[in-house]
Symmetry: C2
Amino acid sequence: MVAAQAGVSRATVSRVVNGSPTVTPEIVESVNRAIAELNYVPNRAARMLASRRTQVIALIVPESSAKIFADPFFAQLVQGVALHLADTEYMLNMLIESEANSGKTRRYLLGGNVDGALVVSHHTGDHSYAQLNGTLPVVYGGRPLVPEDNEPYFVDVDNRGGAAAATEHLIGTGRRRIATIAGPQDMPPGFDRLDGWRGVMRANGLDDSLVAQGDFTVASGAEAMRGLLEREPGIDAVFAANDQMAVGAYQALAESGRQVPGDVAVIGFDDNSFAETASPALTTVSQPAVGMGQAMAELLVQIIEGRPHQDHLVLPTTLVRRASA
Amino acid sequence: MVAAQAGVSRATVSRVVNGSPTVTPEIVESVNRAIAELNYVPNRAARMLASRRTQVIALIVPESSAKIFADPFFAQLVQGVALHLADTEYMLNMLIESEANSGKTRRYLLGGNVDGALVVSHHTGDHSYAQLNGTLPVVYGGRPLVPEDNEPYFVDVDNRGGAAAATEHLIGTGRRRIATIAGPQDMPPGFDRLDGWRGVMRANGLDDSLVAQGDFTVASGAEAMRGLLEREPGIDAVFAANDQMAVGAYQALAESGRQVPGDVAVIGFDDNSFAETASPALTTVSQPAVGMGQAMAELLVQIIEGRPHQDHLVLPTTLVRRASA
DNA sequence: ATGAAAGCGCTAACAA
DNA sequence: TTGTTAGCGCTTTCAT
């Protein structure tokens, strides 16, 4: 180690580099000077090997979700993770999990190649990596679909609260025949958003039977809306579990000659580009995607470093008022 | 190395693991069996340290572009990179370059922590990392803004060809007063798309002066279209350098009471969600974002491994016909 | 508070 | 074809 030319031993240089408190200030300074002069950069591999710490965090994307890169929510989440990690000494390692390499990924994770893992299971609620828990710290994005014995760490957005806020807003503006286009019930966001709507409807003594289910696509939203209108022509508002389905509802509403928000108020969820470009601009529930990524990364680092931390976080959502409700 | 309990030396195990051809088949088999039984996973750090190869590829995102995660093009590009790398032994390392860590990133790259780097400079054409070339293999996404001495490796999409195809389509459908809403001319895509339009206009003896410039936002597209209409009310078609600006043009056209595509045909570029959800659905030029990511990753790996390769690739774009032209 | 010395787990000459 | 022998560059007891 050339930096030892600062007149001290390699061990001392190592101490300085790692911020050991047991080094004389003067020595610290001269070592730092030598480091600067020699433009020294510690070798990561050697450090890992000797310390048995990798300073690497894995971001696991289930293959089925590889396409969700196209999902702005996911993209922002990754951005949040990267942003938080940029301030730390950790590196991000993206693993796309595919059938071909499922065992490979698991072995990689358990092979001591990373200090912890982040799993994005937003859509499926699949926490199959839970088995890693106990062996390797893992933080999930999105709550597990079903509560598990070994409560995994996770960060989620307040889907229920967001849906409730949207529904309350609708009621607050005088709507009474409020329908909802729900998402798949085997996905936590789909389930929670329906649950939030239902809770508020009941609390206000309103009919909570106007439920149609879609699969988060525009087409399914249109389809669901048509069915809803057929069942109850008097609908004066609809809460869709995501923006795409809300846009689909727009289409069905237009077909039936109804105006938004004049005849029917519409609120979506996600606040993605569909909401902004829809006409009229869609009132929707915004979720802190970047913040979720940051929170996940932060939580994982806290766990890895044995610092105090929550076991899970639920981030607040906000209603974004535009023209549709 | 426990696997040596297969009755051979550590060196032989290493050879088997690394697929050396100089090992007796029988031994290979027994070693593999031992590996399986002992559930052995080679330690990455040790391997890196000894071989001086990291099997890690950095993906550098200039901070100013961190937000471009929201850009579907970028998201798909990352997906492509990850998909290609999933089939190799390389890991992906995302580095978000910020002012705070600019030197840090550079040192990290030069500190032997990665085998190569991918730089996404799509929007700016900034190839400031070119200096890394020669030290570390670097492949850029998007051509450099100005040709450089040490021609860097890059993968680009055929912006000029896409623009030309769009313009030809317009001419082919009988349009003659064709305007264009160009992007910033200090960004390669902005420049090349204008250039493609101009080339075809001239080749067909048409007026190539109907140019207005925007900054790739919806608002700038509307603004540009208004100006164009003022200069030449007889415009019967417009090619916008991206979909957002095309949507902006829709707005200006609607304000002036013109129909799309009846009075004015419109073609965009990118084929993102704006194109699909616009009404009427926007005819646009689609670029292979995922393919670009894959190509970048493939090229970099070829360079790293000293295999034969191109110095740069330009991927074809395709015209996606929808309702606006 | 600092140095000496022993590895971390693997690869890569060099021998055999 | 296989084994031997050195390290790769750093951290970390253990002395001092």
